[in-house]
Symmetry: D3
Subunit: 289 residues, 6 copies
């Protein structure tokens, strides 16, 4: 069923893909002259990349960042999205409102599915943000597991500024990340810019990096390296179970965890890690996954 | 079905209602000589007010505060609630415990429905607290979207102090706002007073205002003004979708968002906002909602 | 159905049980020469203790801590767990993977049930942590209501270090306590040690005690004393309703609260507390529960 | 909070309300010359009636039927609903689609709330149907607890015939009643008329009455009499718990049942019923509720 | 953690336990002179039996029936339950209603847990009913997987007759089995006796056996034999997944199924069954589970 | 995002696709010499077809049947599935059980996604079954909306016969269709063949066609024609809302329905249908969707 996984990583025009170290993939949004704003072809590429690395046995952690000095991403390229033949969201092609509504709903579901491909990636994904992280930048990083940023980052949940409550993930994921706090409501209802310190205080990010963008990338790679050294069976199970805990009861989660681990605890990783720990031997080596 | 909405705002004896600016309504709890404590007639009025402004097209944001210098609200007026003919909660009118239980359950559901009318208000609601914010003051502000307070505020989840686990919203909403943290459990199980700094650190409020009560009101109006300048279609959709995300899975929320926006993205607001943004024209003007 | 509750508290070899004050029980994990690490017989004892004190009318609050100066608990005793006849988790007794999976699943469910006996305890449970709080130390304290720690505590979600995503509660409860924040993901995916300050900033604990272990115990007893002075009907109802709010909608919770309180508001505690409050009399006395 | 309950039953122009026997109320839809089709004023009246009898202690069972020989109800009065000043559903009053969508959503929620007032009625409600039971007739009877019909009844889920997927309860309740069977999908997607035999075979109704409309009424009253002879505490608890079981897990339901009954089992009804049963005495008498 | 499973089946005074064939256990409720009505000691025994056979590798299917010619079980032994020292449900030991409520809630949870031990049994459980299947007889059989009955069976959901909405499983499970149909509401709200034909038509039972009680037992054993001949890995997984599907969405269930089978599809049973099927060889033999 | 929809229907080697009438598509499983059993390439084709027709504006209803006289489909082609290079389900490629488990889980999720593409199809899907409808035949038809069959059909939930509890939809959808009745458990736990009459009595199918396979196809086309004549906006909304009702509460569903229809009731279909109904004019014509 999955011929793509055997045929090598997908080509991408608007993303640079590198491997800074074994087991670590770095995907860089690469349209810096437009502040890494997204337009139509980029969606396809993003989903193809995450679908691939989700299953690629050589990959244990994925990093995502934006090219250039100015932005993680400024969000949707509104000019491109407003071009006559692109604009499903404001399309006038159907005269009947219910048919336009159907067309819009299908389009939103497609875009959401792209962002969800990041969230569904079986490997942990770390967002490293700098400069503008506006609109889609919040949707995208909310779908990641770990978020860090450079001290110059400017965050904004942009939707109410462009007349949209529509979103492709932010409103569905912020409650999971930060709770539906007063701050969460404030930034979503007012579209005001917020700072790295506010993002840290309100648990959106877990690290503010002082210095240059290179320092940010280094911090991300360091975290990735630590995670990549652990049992991939344990790491990927941990991600899956944590995400599955949302919107469900503790009882449901405990049972799900037991069922998940029924299959996973037979891993040779357990034996390797335990033996290594008891002998106080060096870091154990784990098979690919 | 809604004759009330066409007949002007409801009269209220225990609430002052003003409009400090276009699109902004300020509801002030007005029983300052009793520390704005609630007794029976006030519940009716509160629900009537929020039901009205929820649909009123001239209103985009609602502010709520307490009159006088001493309290947002000290909670239930226990003396009044204990008066022989008022006291459904401790009523002895039925000799049979199951019939008393039924009577109590109906009464709690009614009071909860009043507080939920604040949460259900389609327009964002901002609580501006000062002095005592005890018991019902927490229930009420938990049902608001944004909470700010003056530096003199004293918060208390009062229930265990008066023998009640009963509540009209606090226990159901604090997990949504702050998570079921150690702090949440501590303040609910011990009824200890907590400070603005603790409330801020634990994400219950998003702003502490230094200075006088007038400064607090100004801060609230400023936030309201910012929100009122945005597309009301987007703002009200954002509130609805964020609230609907609670207790449900991310997958459910994404689908709900897409269905909501299928109808809403046809808004002329999108076009106005996008055009305005592209032209770097001034703030767009949006139709009433 | 419950003969055990009438036959006095269960005997425990690996736990010291004391009552520092009326209504307060202190359970101390007592295997200090092994850093209070858990092995098989301790699970039985822990569950028996919490099942007993959950219903014991003389008990209103339970404290839990670790004996000795070095650890709350270092987690599973991996050496003991790896012994040939103990090790259900890595058992080779079945040659068929599906039968081994069944055996593992049953074992995880049993261990989860032990930890859940702490969460299910009808009385509030306060964890007082110091030194190592690794692996099971997080599982266990996550099942408590209130968490405080000494400034020397070292926390670690250990699972990915020993090849396990398996857990007996941590992954199911951290989202409830802290949200699925960037920090939550980071500590679970990397197994890095985190500090009391980080634990406080991220809402895992609500108090850092400076000083000696005796100061920690004093702080716990002080909090327990405050809670024990309140109506036990209200306190235990508050715990139940807060916990039930997780993974469910606000509407569901409001209804559940009303149904719960239909039976509970007939409590004589309400009358005592109200009367006491109105008269500004001293602390009311409440019946056992 | 409930002044209406003390001021006697609401007046209704389009419904006949009688009490055929003690504890039994019969509400008859009374617009026979229009096949009992609903138009605007009838919604108000229906909700007012069910809100009243839900709490009225003299009422233990509510029957609902349609006046005249031709119909339970033919559904919405489409001609009236299409009149220029009535037609919120097809309103052109707002030129902007998102504002029209908001207006439509509010209107649907209001109509749903009327039908839900039947479902929320604390007392069991029995629908006795004959002739046309089209559109709203299905919405309304789906909100009842027990459904019976005369052998001449013609059922139709009318929505797709009038261009609406919109409904005020049918699509939300048929899965609960009949399952999402092939038959359920067929009648909803095709709007074909179905027969009493099909309705019985597919569990929509539980009794087909042969004979005249008077026989139908007699059968309904007989069932109501049987239910009214039982403990109202038990009957109303049974209704509440059964309805609460939908869309929730068995574990959740068991806990909810235990909490509900904690308050209710103290009923004197239990003692009366048990004593009566042991003595093989006649039917026990129960207090009002 | 499970010393009991290694120490042989529990002794039972009020239940006959036999093994009519390899892999099949038959538990017979054995208090025929009291119509197999339940009183206190029987609850302990029932739970102990089902906890044991749930994990016993020699058991693949459990049958349950009632001794004697007159009843599966007539339900609770009301006389015994009303005896002064037994009657937690109507206890007057606490003068305070909230403390009585707590005591009642704990007791209901305990009884529910007994009935849930039948539902939780990992092996399929088949109820074979005859004569009276009243009250607890419905609770108990609702917790089984397959229900069949002799043509002389009389069913009754007895609760409203004895003043209780309280139940230990019926109200939580009937919606899952039969839907919340008109019939379900009718039998629960009226406590009327219903027939095998009604039970069959409404999907409560799947087989009516004509003839003697011996024919009923034969029919049960025959069904058990068929199930016992299949892969126990597949059978027990099927039971778990079907039960887990209730009250959850299809999307949740599909994911749960995939996770369950990740561990289970490695079973040697798959290979044996497939090979056997391809070779058209005789019935494959499966290892114990 | 959807270039495929503009490039015509996908080619399929193992499925015949015809359009018996305007707006109706008939997909025939076409591997009659293997009893229409599925092997690897067929999965791709099936998903591609349903993804296409889900959005194709010329299509309003999809029919699915099996070519030849002998089978709808006999299920998985076990011989092909057991071939060394195909068999992900029994793969030995990984020596470590947890890595095999991961590979199996991914494969099941892929196959489930194929079957779910049938369930997700926005247009109603009607299964017309004859001969063998085994294993995957149940998975597939359970994902359809309406099921009918020829009187010679033999149904079987085959999984426990081949050592699998694994399924690609049956266990997740049968509860939704038939309830978790005694019959549902029986056929799933025993893998016994069941008849059209049993399938009808237990609500799996809604019509048994007597006669030839041509009569079956005619009956399907007739039903499709009726549905295709209705407003597609209403039909597709009805399907979406009914499916969304499963596993969720009535309150959630009512709100979802209102939100859905906020966008959809602006349809010109409503006006056309209402006008047509009032004028008693002929069938209204609706725009494509």
């Amino acid at each position: 069923m999955s011929p793509t996984t055997s045929s090598g990583p997908p080509k991408a025009q608007y993303f640079n893909v590198t491997s800074p170290e074994t087991y670590i993939i770095h995907i860089e949004i690469n349209r810096p002259n437009k502040l890494n704003a997204f337009f139509n072809p980029m969606w396809y590429e993003l989903k193809a990349l995450f679908d691939y690395y989700s299953h690629d046995p050589e990959t244990r952690v994925v990093l995502i960042s934006g090219a250039g000095d100015r932005a993680f991403t400024a969000g949707l390229d509104v000019a491109a999205a407003s071009a006559p033949d692109q604009s499903a969201l404001t399309s006038k092609s159907h005269s009947d409102p219910s048919r336009r509504a159907t067309s819009i709903r299908r389009h939103i579901l497609e875009l959401q599915d792209v962002v969800s491909s990041v969230a569904r990636c079986e490997k942990p994904v770390i967002a490293m943000m700098h400069g503008y992280a506006f609109g889609l930048g919040i949707d995208l990083s909310s779908a990641c597991d770990i978020r860090m940023c450079l001290s110059n980052t400017k965050f904004c949940v942009k939707e109410v500024d462009i007349g949209l409550a529509a979103d492709v993930g932010t409103l569905s994921r912020l409650g999971k990340i930060m709770g539906l706090t007063s701050f969460t409501k404030e930034i979503c209802l007012s579209a005001r810019v917020f700072t790295p310190e506010e993002a840290f205080q309100n648990n959106f990010i877990s690290k503010i990096v002082q210095g240059t963008k290179a320092d940010l990338i280094n911090a991300g790679v360091e975290m990735a390296r630590l995670i990549a050294s652990k049992s991939p069976v344990a790491v990927q199970g941990t991600k899956n179970i944590l995400d599955a805990s949302w919107g469900r009861t503790v009882e449901d989660n405990l049972n799900y965890t037991a069922v998940w681990n029924a299959g996973m605890l037979q891993s040779s990783d357990v034996e390797r890690a335990m033996t290594s720990g008891l002998r106080k031997a060096g870091t154990p080596r784990f098979e690919k996954l």
